[in-house]
C-alpha cells in the first residue's frame, strides 16, 4: 500500500517532468492542492489517486505546495497545466484573490475549472468578470456545529476561548466566525481568542497562558485538531478535567481523545473525498454536462463519542 503510494507519487512527478499530459485519449485533470505537509491535503491527494485508479477513465496530474502561503507555486502550476493542455483544473486556492487571474486565463484556454476547498473571492471574480462555482464544505457552518455542541453542554453564560488558525487564512477566518456564531447563539462569554498557527506545541503554550489569565475557562474551541491536542495536553498538565474541548478535521490522533472524553467533539469534512468529488464534477462538465453554478456544498459531520 505504502509502496503503491510512493510509486503513484513518483509516476505523477515523472509525468509532470516529462510534460506529456496526453498519453492517450483519456481526459487529463490537473489537481492543485495546498501544502502537502498538511495531513488534510496529504489524505486528499491519496483519496484522489485512489479515485483515479478506481475510475480509470481519466488521467490525474497532482501538485501541492511547499507551505500554506506559497501561492506563487500554485500560479505556476496553473500556467504549466495550461501549457500542457489539460482538460480540467481542479484547484484548492491558497489565496482567494491571487488565483483568480491565472484561473481566468485557464478558462479562456477552454479548460474546465473547478474551485474547491476554499472559495475564490467574490469581489475579485467580479472584477475579472468570471463566473465560477465553488465546491466545498461550509467551514463556518462546520465550526458552528462544533461550537453548538459546546454551547449546548455549557449553557448560557459559559466561558469559552477560541484557538485560531493562521491569521489571514480563509478557512481560519471562517472557522473563527463559525465559533463566534455559536458564542452569540448560546450567549456564551468569549474570554479570549488567539492564534496558535494550526500547531500543537504553540497551542499548548498559548492555551496554558490563557488558562493562567482566565482560570475560570469552561470551554475551548480549537480551529483544528492538532491545536486541540495541544490544549488537551495543557489541561492534563494543569490537572483540569472540567474544561470541555472541541476541534475540527477529525484526524486519527484525536479519536482516542473523543472516545475517552478528553475531547467533546470534532468536525469531519471528508477531505479524502473532497478532491475526488470535485474531479467527478469536473469530468461531468468536460463530457458536455452543464456548467456548475453557485456553491456546491460538500458534506460535513459532527463527530462525538458513541
Amino acid at each position: 500500500m505504502k509502496l503503491l503510494k510512493i510509486a503513484a507519487a513518483a509516476a505523477t512527478g515523472l509525468a509532470l517532468l516529462a510534460g506529456t499530459a496526453q498519453a492517450d485519449d483519456k481526459p487529463v485533470v490537473g489537481l492543485i492542492m495546498k501544502s502537502l505537509a498538511n495531513e488534510f491535503f496529504q489524505n486528499m491527494m491519496a483519496g484522489a489517486q485512489a479515485h483515479e485508479e478506481k475510475r480509470g477513465d481519466y488521467k490525474l496530474l497532482a501538485v501541492g505546495m511547499q507551505n500554506e502561503t506559497d501561492f506563487e507555486s500554485q500560479i505556476n502550476a496553473v500556467e504549466n497545466f495550461i501549457t500542457q493542455g489539460v482538460d480540467a483544473i481542479v484547484v484548492a486556492p491558497a489565496d482567494s484573490r491571487a488565483m483568480v487571474r491565472p484561473l481566468k486565463k485557464a478558462m479562456e484556454a477552454g479548460i474546465v475549472v473547478v474551485n474547491f476547498d476554499v472559495a475564490l473571492d467574490a469581489e475579485a471574480k467580479k472584477q475579472q468578470n468570471i463566473e465560477l462555482a465553488f465546491v466545498g464544505p461550509d467551514n463556518r457552518g462546520g465550526a458552528k456545529l462544533a461550537g453548538d455542541a459546546l454551547g449546548k453542554k455549557l449553557g448560557a453564560g459559559g466561558k469559552v476561548v477560541i484557538i485560531e488558525g493562521n491569521p489571514g487564512a480563509d478557512n481560519a477566518n471562517e472557522r473563527r466566525l463559525g465559533f463566534e456564531d455559536s458564542v452569540a447563539e448560546f450567549e456564551l462569554e468569549l474570554l479570549d481568542s488567539r492564534t496558535a498557527h494550526w500547531e500543537t506545541e504553540e497551542a499548548n503554550t498559548v492555551f496554558s497562558n490563557m488558562l493562567t489569565a482566565h482560570p475560570d475557562i469552561q470551554g475551548v474551541m480549537a480551529a483544528n485538531d492538532s491545536m486541540a491536542i495541544g490544549v488537551v495536553k495543557a489541561l492534563e498538565s494543569a490537572g483540569r478535567d472540567d474544561i470541555i474541548v472541541v476541534g475540527f478535521d477529525n484526524i486519527p490522533a484525536v479519536s482516542p481523545m473523543i472516545s475517552d472524553g478528553r475531547m467533546l467533539a470534532t468536525v469531519d469534512q471528508f477531505g479524502t473525498d473532497m478532491a475526488a468529488n470535485s474531479i467527478d464534477l469536473a469530468l461531468e462538465v468536460v463530457k458536455g454536462g452543464p456548467q456548475l453554478e453557485g456553491w456546491v456544498k460538500t458534506p460535513i459531520e459532527l463527530v462525538v463519542a458513541n
Binding site: K2, K5, L36, A37, N38, E39, Q42, P167, D192, R194, T195, H197, W198, E199, T200, E201, N204, T205, V206, S208, N209, M210, T212, A213, P215, S226, I229, G230, K233, E236, S237, A238, I251, P252, A253, P256
Partner: protein, 332 residues
Amino acid sequence: MTTQVLSETMPNATRFSVRTALQNAGIGLALLALILFFSVFTEHFLTPNNITNILTQITINLVLAVGMTFVILIGGIDLSVGSVMAFAAVVAGKAITLPGFGPAEAIALAVVAATLTGVACGMINGVISAYWALPSFIITLGMLNIARGAALQVSEAQTIYSFPYAFEEFGSAMIYGVPVVFLVALLLVLVAWFVLNFTVFGRLLYGIGNNEEAVRLAGHSVYWYKVAAFTICGFTAGIAAIVYMARLNISSPIAGIGFELNAIAAVIIGGTSLSGGRGSVIGTLLGAFIIGVLANGLILIGLSDFMRQMITGVVIIVAVVLDHYRAKYASK
C-alpha cells in the same frame, strides 16, 4: 608554546570572566525588570502554576539555544534546528510505536533514534560547511529543507501518536513544581558552561570565533572543532525532539517551524556575538527566559497576537543594539 599563541589570539581571555559576568548581570537586570513589570500589571504572573508553565514553555527553546550557542560562538549559524527537531521527532515517533517492544525498550529506542538523527544532521552540516569553508548560513538552510522534507516523507505527513504511558509521565513529571524536562535543559546548560569555560575544547571554540587562522597556525585542527560544534547543535535538536514528544505525546512533521529563529534570538539576546568568539551559555539561559517571560506575560496582560509579535521583534533589535554598545565599551 600552544598556550602562549592561544592567549595572544584571545586577548580577552583574562578579562573574560569579569566581562561576561558584567554582561550577564545586565541581561539579568533586564529579565528582572520584565518580571517586575508583569508581576505588577498582571494578577497571575508570579503564581507557582504560572512559573511552572514558563519553565515548561521555555524548555524546547532553551535546549535548542544551548546547541546554537556553540555554533554561533565559532562564527557560524544553524538554521536547520527546527526542521531537524521535527525530523528527529518523527523518526523517534516511528521507533516508539514499533510493535513488539515493551514500554522501556520502546522509549530507549526512541531516545537513541532522536539523538542519532540529530547528531547525523548536525554532523553533515558541520562537515560540509567546514570542509569546503562554505557559509553555514546556506548549508544549514539546505538542511532545513532536507530535514523538513525527510520528516514529511517518513511520517507521510501524518501525526504520529499513542506513545507508552511512562513517556507521558516523564513529560509532565515535576520535582517541587519544577518540570523534569526543564531540569534536563538546565543540566545541558551546566554541562555546556563547563565545557566552554574549563576545557581546552571550549576555549578553542572561542578562539576559532575570534581568530580562526591563529588557532590553525597554533597547530589545532579547526576542521574537527567546527564539525564538533555543529554536531553538538544537532544533538540538542535531538534532545529537543524528545522533550517535544514527551510533553505533547505526539510527533508532528510540521513541528518546530521557525524554532531556529527563536533559538538564535535567545542566544543573541543573551549577549553572544553573531560574529563569534564572544558570549556565554549562561547568557543564553537568560535570553531564553526573556523570550519566554515576554511571550507568557504579554498574553496574561491580554495584548493581541499581532502586538505581541511586534514587541518580541523590538526586544530582539534593542538587545542587539545594546550589545553593540557593550562590545564598544568592553574593547576600550
